[in-house]
């Protein structure tokens, strides 16, 4: 199980994945908006997205768990 945690706080701009999706390494999972910049988070490995803990528009914090992938 790979846990994608947030590097910084910010707001969730786009969520591009949902539980059950098969993803490849490098696929963009979601995009945060931080200090007016879009910061994409990519899948570090190929696998299945098992859970998504964020929604578009959420205000989020550093280290928060965003997505889990089973590889």
């Amino acid at each position: 199980m790979i846990k994608i945690e947030l590097e910084t706080g910010g707001s969730v701009w786009k969520v591009l994945t949902k539980p059950g999706d098969q993803v490849e390494a490098g696929d963009t999972l979601f995009i945060l908006e931080v200090m007016k910049m879009e910061v994409p988070y990519e899948a570090p490995v190929a696998g299945e997205v098992t859970s998504v803990h964020i929604n578009e528009g959420d205000a989020v914090e550093e280290d928060q768990l965003a997505v889990e992938i089973s590889d």
């Binding site: 590097e7 910084t8 931080v34 200090m35 007016k36 910049m37 879009e38 910061v39 994409p40």
Partner: protein, 527 residues
């Protein structure tokens, strides 16, 4: 006649030399087979194993191997020898001499014995005296209330004793100092650990503690394990150490790599090596690495790795002050310092910890006469209530003034944004400045500037949000770097693919200026 002969036989020194051999052999037993086995079982190496792993094979020349406590029976015969629990000596790394030392955890848990303390303090003094880099391999704690002698009260030092930490500070101003935390490090060794130009901790075996769990529980009622108090997750993120490595061996590899960029001392230049990477190697991907959409982030580390000599980038402090990227690398074989913004972390803004990291890094380059390459994408100081609480303006200005006082050569590449007071930290005095077509600069980024300057106009518009966007786009379009180049506001405006070639040519131009920078710096690095 016989008695006379026997008299002469007794006059040689064989008894003593035999005892020297015995003592040496006993010293190598360290804390004894049981203590060593216990240490190994925890997955840790002994100090002698660590030293041998760090150094070129067979190069260790021990200092003070006879220091320790001898035990005798009632007839005065030697029954045992407890060596000082700090092993110290000279050795070579990639053929270059260093001073190396570290606590022996198998004896007294690394808490200094009287001779151990003397040897540990001697490490910095030796490095300063011989002007060789210093490597400390720490696993141990500071003093105990029982004192180093184990007796309740030993004689305190005289008032006119030399200042205890002067040699620690002097070492940092004189020679490269690299330190690893390989087991639990607390108290005095923890203080010396951070008094380094480069520090690394083993994620699997090390903790760093100002005070350990028992002291914390007694003073504060806080119940925490060593790992919770001072494990790598805490200390690679707060800047206590520069880097974390998976295990002890990887820590030693990192130290060797750090030293490869360093001169032996401030009176020498860092070693230039032959470079197999052509200076005119171009990388077409740099043409589209910065998105035209100004809101989209890009990967600054890809630019760093593309522009510098291949595989030469050694990042320091990646987990800390993450809006800034700092490290050592080579350009056409010449060691250089690299400092860049990371727009993927808080837009690359100058935070309090980022400013601290950048300041220390500039001081490192200044101390060892390394040219600085700055890749600029600076939106300004971090703003907001948390940033105000952290005194960002003060720490940020400290970085700005540090840059202003450096004497080493600088080359700055305006990659994208260069805004506010914070941008001034990214350009050295009389620095060489190149701009990419994606460069934009000014007193503050367009979005914030529009919000302030056109506040009333936006509020009065039928669709304020649309008017805001319109104004932002209009002003952003005026940020072209061409007028700046026309006014000689930069040395040149370049195709990003030419960055490596331009920087290598610059390095060649400044090379002969470096010898004049040798010697102690006006300011040196402090923790």
């Amino acid at each position: 006649m016989l008695a006379q002969l026997k008299y002469y036989v007794r006059m040689n020194w064989k008894t003593e030399t035999d005892e020297i051999v015995r003592r040496r052999r006993l010293a190598l037993d360290q804390g004894g087979p049981d203590a060593i086995a216990k240490h190994h079982k925890k997955g840790r190496l002994t100090i002698r194993e660590r030293i041998n792993k760090l150094l070129d094979a067979g190069s260790f020349e021990e200092v003070g191997p006879a220091a320790g406590t001898a035990n005798h029976d009632e007839n005065g015969e030697l029954t045992g020898f407890d060596p000082a629990n700090f092993v110290l000596g000279f050795g070579k790394v990639d053929g270059r001499r260093i001073v190396v030392g570290g606590e022996d955890f198998t004896m007294r848990g690394g808490s200094p014995s009287p001779a151990g303390l003397r040897k540990s303090v001697y490490a910095e003094e030796l490095a300063v005296q011989y002007k060789t880099p210093l490597v400390r391999l720490h696993e141990g704690s500071g003093g105990s209330v029982g004192g180093t002698s184990g007796k309740a009260q030993s004689l305190p030092g005289p008032v006119n004793a030399p200042a205890r930490f002067r040699s620690v500070a002097q070492a940092m101003a004189t020679v490269p100092v690299a330190t690893a935390a390989l087991g639990a490090v607390a108290g005095l060794p923890a203080g010396r650990l951070v008094a380094s130009h480069f520090s690394v901790m083993s994620k699997s075996t090390a903790q760093i503690l100002t005070a350990g769990p028992a002291v914390v529980a007694r003073a504060m009622g806080e119940q925490k394990t060593k790992e919770e108090l001072g494990g790598w997750k805490v200390h690679t993120k707060n800047g206590t150490v520069d880097n974390g490595a998976d295990n002890e061996t990887d820590c030693l590899t990192e130290i060797r790599k750090f030293l490869s960029f360093m001169p032996d001392n401030v009176n020498q230049l860092a070693p230039v090596i032959d470079c197999e990477d052509p200076i005119d190697r171009t990388d077409e991907t740099l043409l589209n690495i910065v998105p035209r959409d100004r809101r989209q982030a890009f990967d600054m580390r890809r630019i760093i790795n593309s522009v510098l000599d291949q595989n030469s980038f050694f990042e320091m402090g990646a987990g800390y002050g993450r809006s800034q990227i700092t490290g050592l690398a080579r350009l056409n074989g010449q060691p250089v310092g690299i400092w860049a913004n990371n727009c993927k972390f808080l837009a690359g803004s100058m935070t309090t910890d980022g400013a601290h990291k950048a300041r220390r890094f500039m001081e490192l380059c200044e101390t060892f006469s390394l040219p600085i390459i700055s890749l600029v994408d600076e939106p300004g100081f971090m703003i907001g209530s948390q940033a105000e609480r952290e005194a960002t303006i003060r720490h940020g200005t400290s970085a700005v003034l540090t840059a202003a006082m450096t004497t080493v050569p600088w080359a700055s590449v305006m990659v994208r944004r260069s805004f506010g007071v914070a941008q001034a930290a990214h350009y050295g005095p009389e620095g060489f400045v190149l701009a990419w077509p994606s460069a934009e600069s000014g007193p503050l980024p367009v979005e914030g500037g529009v919000a302030v300057a056109f506040q009333r106009e936006i509020a009065a518009a039928p669709d304020p949000e649309a008017r805001r966007r319109e104004l932002e786009e209009q002003l952003a379009a005026r940020q072209s770097p061409f007028p700046r180049a026309e006014a000689l506001g930069v040395h040149d405006l370049i195709d990003p693919c030419q960055t490596r070639l331009e920087l290598c040519r610059w390095v060649d131009r400044v090379q002969h200026l470096l010898p004049a920078l040798l010697g102690p710096s006006n300011f040196s690095i402090r923790p």
